[in-house]
Amino acid sequence: MTGTGVLLRLALRRDRLMLPLWILVIVALPIGTASAIAELYPAAGQRLTLGTTIMANPALQALTGPVYEASSVGGLTAWRATNVAAVLAALMSALLVVRHTRAEEDSGRAELIGAAPVGRYALPAAAVLTSLMANLVIAALLTAGLTGQGLPLAGSAAFAGSVAGAGLVFTGIAAVAAQVAGAARAANTIAVTALGLSFLVRAAGDAAGNDAVSWVSPLGWAQRTRAFAGERWWVLPMSAAATLILLAVADQVARRRDLGGGLLAARRGPASAAPSLRSPLVLAWRLHRGSLAIWAVAFAVVGGVFGALAETVGDLIEGNEQIAGLLAALGGENALVDTFFATQLDLFALVAGGYAVQAALRPRSEEVAGRAEPVLAASVPRSRWLFGHVTLSLAGSALILAAAGLAAGVVHGLRVGDPAGQAVRILGAAVAQVPAVWVSAGFAVLLFGLLPRAVAAAWALLVAFAVLDLFGPLFQFDEWVRLLSPYARLPALPGGVFTPMPYVWLCLTAVLLIGVGIAGFVQRDLEPD
């Protein structure tokens, strides 16, 4: 462990910009939520009505989890913000750990450090410590911020602890992924897939009202700490224990492998290339197809699960006369199912935005790794090289959304006895989300072309879009502010009224952003470092 302190300072220095930004967002969201709820629902009666409406909507519960205590501001804050904050803390921790362990090995910097008088495990130890510190800072700031909003100390601390707990568990998961995977990209994929599965399991459990299923997911633990609703303090040490177990596993794997290697060993490949491997587009396909396949399968599985849940949406409100009456006015149970799908597809679109941005930024990682140089030193126009990756980003995001929509439609259709009809309907609604996703990809391409060192802003923009889209109604943002997010511009489908103009505008915006980005890249210097 010698040298851990030095490496910790190095990690903190390298992240002196991004890490405070992450922490700011994770802390600001719950505090803003508490403030908004106190302002918008000042009376306990209003809050109880809100709580009843939420509990009647499984789509909302899939997104945010159940309400444990609706009469207090704290209870509603915990309902609305726990899941988002926990997901973000988990994502921050996972990316942080991989960045400071596996990515360092891939770059060869770990070798440099390994040759210096530092302990063999100083690098992972420093990465885990960095993440631990970040999560503790989040917990401290959240506790202070929520009590500052006038919420009880115990609930605030439990809330803060549950968010940090999710961050810690995913610190552990990423530490294992970084040791098991053959490269940083694969480690990130493993960690993010684990996060996606945790979200899905919790969403399915909460939407179906099955508590045992939700307990399987570390994200479910965060909610079940029941901040502001009779705190279950014993859940917090559970997260800590899970983290320690995961770190012990990572340590065991680390002892069994070589620097740069992984447990998942590299397979051999063909001695010569297939005749088709002769263009930048085919190269891009080869580079993207692995992750695209994982995303498509994950989207199809998650879509299928939501398809299976959709029909049970109506069951939950059967006992509730008030809600049933409200619903009849809105168009009956079918309208509820449509709303459920529309809400879920909006969420799918935001996640697909993550795929689109990731794929559109692949040229940047190629450039940084020095793999763009030999291709562009061959007889390849820069625009064609970049367009290969852009094509995969655009077509890939459309494909995964289609996979989710098709699976959801078929499964739902089988349950209601109309597989073909529902498949077409939900598939159409899913594909209708694509233009918003393309705008996210467009911003990534624009940044790559004009400000290659600032491409991370494409992620910040996606998070901002998500916050505007998901929290806009709760925070009662002005409509024009909410509509800054392309995801908020689309009609709610299925069920809503289809109007072509938003699609035309979003597609034109995406084309413009991509066009300017490509034009910028064609003219600029290659900046590998």
Partner: protein, 298 residues
């Protein structure tokens, strides 16, 4: 411009923020020659190569590659040239063989017979995935792709940095074959022995500027010879003769460096002092090189 020049660089400048990477570099590579591009790390060799490839814009000056503009005509020019970067990275999901074929095809095609021959000569295993290769093996992949493409101009940036001595010898053979086939080669290096063994002409670069350029013979002629002599009597005034530097005397043996233009006068004195043995060597490239860089630091 001149038809016999494959690459013409005049007064090229390039800045990265406050750092002046190139300060008016001049370089002329004649068609059909192997041209050594010598300089320590950070002298600007790679920056110059990247500008010749149109990967970077020059800030000022003039660059012409195979009669074309390196940035504007990049796509057409790159059919006629091949580049081996100093630090080769391969795609983790592609095998070495796939990477070789891909790079060759993107350039306009590979000679399969030549490819097979080179894979054999470099003892390269094309079935591993990108990440499994050592630095030297990644360089072999890029070298094979470049050498098998049969282009007019090869731009090689420290191509042997990761190769073992055996493979370095294979590399030298390959370069000599290419030269015999009439190709033009720019070999950037800080390995003097390599340049000395392969290159017709040399440009030495320091701080982004060419400090010396010419044939090795001419460069040597301009500089000092190493003279070692065994004499019956060491003349008193030997150290004071014009053009004599660094005289060391051990008994009857003397060693010194002599400026080329004073060599005749110095040898006359030596032969009149009971000469029993004499070696007179041109300077190695190493000595040439060190002189330029020592002059800089002192």
């Amino acid at each position: 411009m001149s038809e016999d020049s494959a690459v013409v660089v005049d007064g090229l400048t390039k800045r990265f923020g406050h750092i002046h990477a190139l300060n008016g570099l001049d370089l002329r590579i004649r068609t059909g020659e192997v041209h050594g591009f010598l300089g320590p790390n950070g002298a600007g060799k790679t920056t110059a190569l990247r500008i010749m490839l149109g990967l970077l814009h020059g800030d000022g000056g003039h660059v012409e590659v195979l009669g074309g503009h390196p940035f504007r005509d990049a796509v057409a020019l790159h059919r006629r040239l091949a580049y081996v970067p100093g630090d080769v990275t391969l795609w983790p999901t592609l095998s070495g063989g796939e990477a070789i074929d891909l790079l060759g095809r993107l350039r306009g095609g590979l000679d399969p017979r030549r490819r097979a021959e080179l894979v054999d000569r470099f003892d390269f295993d094309p079935t591993k995935k990108g990440r499994a290769y050592s630095k030297g093996n990644r360089q072999k992949a890029a070298l094979i792709a470049a050498l098998a493409s049969g282009v007019e101009l090869l731009l090689l940036d420290e191509p042997t940095a990761g190769l073992d001595p055996l493979m370095e010898a294979v590399f030298r053979e390959c370069i000599l074959d290419e030269r015999a086939a009439g190709r033009t080669i720019l070999l950037s290096s800080h390995l003097l022995a390599e340049v000395e063994a392969l290159c017709d002409r040399v440009t030495i670069i320091r701080d982004g500027r060419a400090v010396e350029s010419g044939t090795l013979t001419r460069l040597r002629h301009l500089t000092r010879m190493s003279v070692t002599a065994d004499l019956a009597v060491v003349p008193q005034a030997l150290g004071e003769l014009a053009g004599v530097h660094g005289l060391e005397a051990a008994g009857t043996r003397v060693r010194m460096e002599v400026d080329a233009e004073h060599l005749e006068a110095v040898l006359r004195v030596i032969t009149e002092s009971g000469l029993r043995g004499l070696t007179c060597q041109p300077p190695t490239l190493e000595q040439l090189f060190l002189r330029h860089y020592q002059g800089h630091t002192s």
